[in-house]
């Protein structure tokens, strides 16, 4: 199911350029804010929501997942080298799954390290594990979604930004019912359930969140495989 050559090529595509090092300050910022909050004498109950949810789950995780998820396949489509992979006798399923695996692992490691350390700053190992698990669930669903978007549209990053800013940022705060359709809330909900101390809180119940996250991941991946099967390379955007 997983092709190691594709995995290697994708990793090289991601880390071969210096610009991905620009993303490392983001997770470091989460840890820094947690340390600063601790230094100021705030309790984890006070800083958990702004730092872990407001900064970590609502900003750092979606931005990292967007850049990584949309570029594992999207950058190859952009510069036209995707042809070389598509011309090889590989099942399209293998290409998509290998790329998704790389995207999820990279996003989870990058965002999760910061979240885990920030959780540990609170002095509760359980909180650290909980936010790490939430990050992993979020990374899986986000990356699958953004990977599928990179096959559906020529501007996957902008569509992803509209989703993150308008749908998750504005609408879910105004209309609470739409939270069931927000990946950010799945991630927070999983973290809340594992932690159990109420430092992070969500309005979506954990079983629903987990089921929806799996549904989004599977659905988006199937869609991506299907799109890649009948993929046609078009010219550059205007």
């Amino acid at each position: 199911m997983i092709n190691l050559t594709i995995v290697r090529l994708t990793l090289r595509g991601l880390f071969g350029r210096r610009r991905f090092l620009l993303l490392l300050p983001l997770p470091a910022l989460v840890v820094g804010m947690a340390l600063l909050a601790d230094l100021l004498g705030a309790t984890p109950d006070e800083w958990g929501q702004p730092v872990l949810v407001g900064l970590g789950f609502a900003a750092v995780l979606p931005v990292l997942a967007l850049i990584v998820g949309a570029s594992v396949l999207g950058s190859e489509i952009d510069d036209g080298t995707a042809v070389h992979i598509l011309a090889k006798p590989l099942p399209r399923r293998e290409i998509v799954l290998s790329k998704l695996l790389v995207a999820v692992v990279v996003t989870t490691l990058a965002a999760g390290t910061g979240m885990l350390l920030a959780g540990l700053v609170s002095g509760s190992g359980r909180l650290g594990i909980a936010v790490l698990a939430g990050t992993a669930v979020g990374a899986l669903a986000y990356c699958a979604l953004f990977l599928a978007l990179s096959l559906l549209t020529r501007r996957p990053v902008l569509v992803g930004l509209v989703y993150v800013l308008v749908w998750e940022g504005l609408l879910t705060n105004l209309v609470s019912g739409t939270r069931v359709l927000s990946i950010q809330h799945y991630a927070v909900s999983v973290a809340e359930r594992i932690d159990g101390s109420g430092v992070v809180t969500s309005t979506v119940s954990a079983p629903v969140a987990l089921a929806m996250a799996v549904a989004v991941t599977v659905g988006a991946t199937l869609l991506a495989v299907d799109r890649l099967r009948s993929f046609s390379l078009t010219g550059d955007t205007s």
Binding site: L26, E46, L55, A58, I67, R155, V157, L158, V166
Partner: protein, 286 residues
């Protein structure tokens, strides 16, 4: 070897251009109008129009809803000063769409040498792009505000009320200009450093998103002084701070005596971003 007939250059009627040269000012003006049109995808394919006009549509819907509520119930949900604050994330989204479109494409396709071989100077290029983005964001904010204004003018009674409405609208336009200048300066600087549009856009959004929780943290965790200074750490609350300083309202953000500091930090941030943008274009390989 001395056969002169082989070396004759025939005069086939080429003429040198003898007319007036339009010069640097004209080049800057052209770049400005062209960039402003690019921001909204005018004169380009339908694909280039989708994202800017999607944002315009959402901001417009907000303005129409606010106007409708006011004309039906008479209650002002969002004042002209509240409006730019309320749609701030959408202005950021607009910048994330437009700023990479304005500068990242030129960097990536290597056409800067063509620009700089004209009378246009390097600083002119940066400033023209910045002015175009500021204009585009200002139009994004004030266009829908005009809808609110027309709805408001026709729903109030008496000349005095109309005059008050005009005054409020004027301060709204000025506040929208402040928003446009700050958001554009920050996002254009970021976009000018990244040559790939797909990477520049999320980084622009991240710059605005990650700073907001810092404010939230200082508000909940810090003391009174920390709370009054907390707004300085995010562009969004910085702008609100300037507004509260210049036009104090009851139950708005508590600034203590730090109002002028908010104004100074805003000016310094804009100047720093614009300065770094010019430095970037002085250094960039063309």
């Amino acid at each position: 070897m001395t056969d002169r007939a082989a070396g004759v250059i025939h005069d086939i009627g080429y003429q040198r251009y003898q007319g007036p040269r339009l010069g640097r000012g004209y080049a800057v003006g052209s770049l400005l109008t062209h960039s402003l049109r690019t921001a909204y995808g005018l004169g380009r394919s339908a694909k280039a129009k989708v994202f800017p006009w999607l944002v315009v549509g959402i901001v417009g819907v907000v303005a129409v809803v606010v106007t409708a509520i006011r004309s039906v119930t008479g209650e002002v949900v969002l004042s002209y000063l509240d409006f730019p604050d309320a749609v701030f994330p959408l202005a950021v989204l607009f910048c994330a769409v437009v700023a990479p479109e304005l500068v990242s494409r030129d960097l990536r396709s290597g056409v800067l040498s063509l620009y700089f071989s004209r009378p246009l100077r390097r600083t002119d290029y940066g400033l023209a792009k910045l002015a175009a983005l500021i204009g585009a964001v200002w139009l994004l904010l004030t266009g829908p505000m005009l809808v609110m204004f027309l709805g408001g003018v026709f729903s109030v009674d008496g000349w005095r009320a109309v005059w008050d409405e005009v005054g409020d609208f004027g301060s709204g336009l000025a506040y929208a200009a402040l928003h446009a200048v700050l958001v554009s300066a920050v996002s254009l600087l970021i976009a000018s450093l990244v040559s790939r549009r797909a990477v520049a856009a999320p980084i622009v959004v991240a710059a605005f998103l990650v700073t907001l929780p810092i404010v939230g943290l200082l508000e909940t965790a810090g003391g009174e002084t920390a709370r009054q200074l907390s707004g300085l750490f995010s562009p969004e609350t910085l702008l609100v701070g300037v507004r509260v300083w210049l036009a104090p309202e009851p139950d708005s953000m508590d600034l203590g005596g730090f109002g002028p500091l908010y104004g100074a930090v805003t000016v310094a941030l804009v100047a720093a971003c614009a300065g770094l943008l010019l430095v970037r274009y002085r250094r960039v390989r063309a």
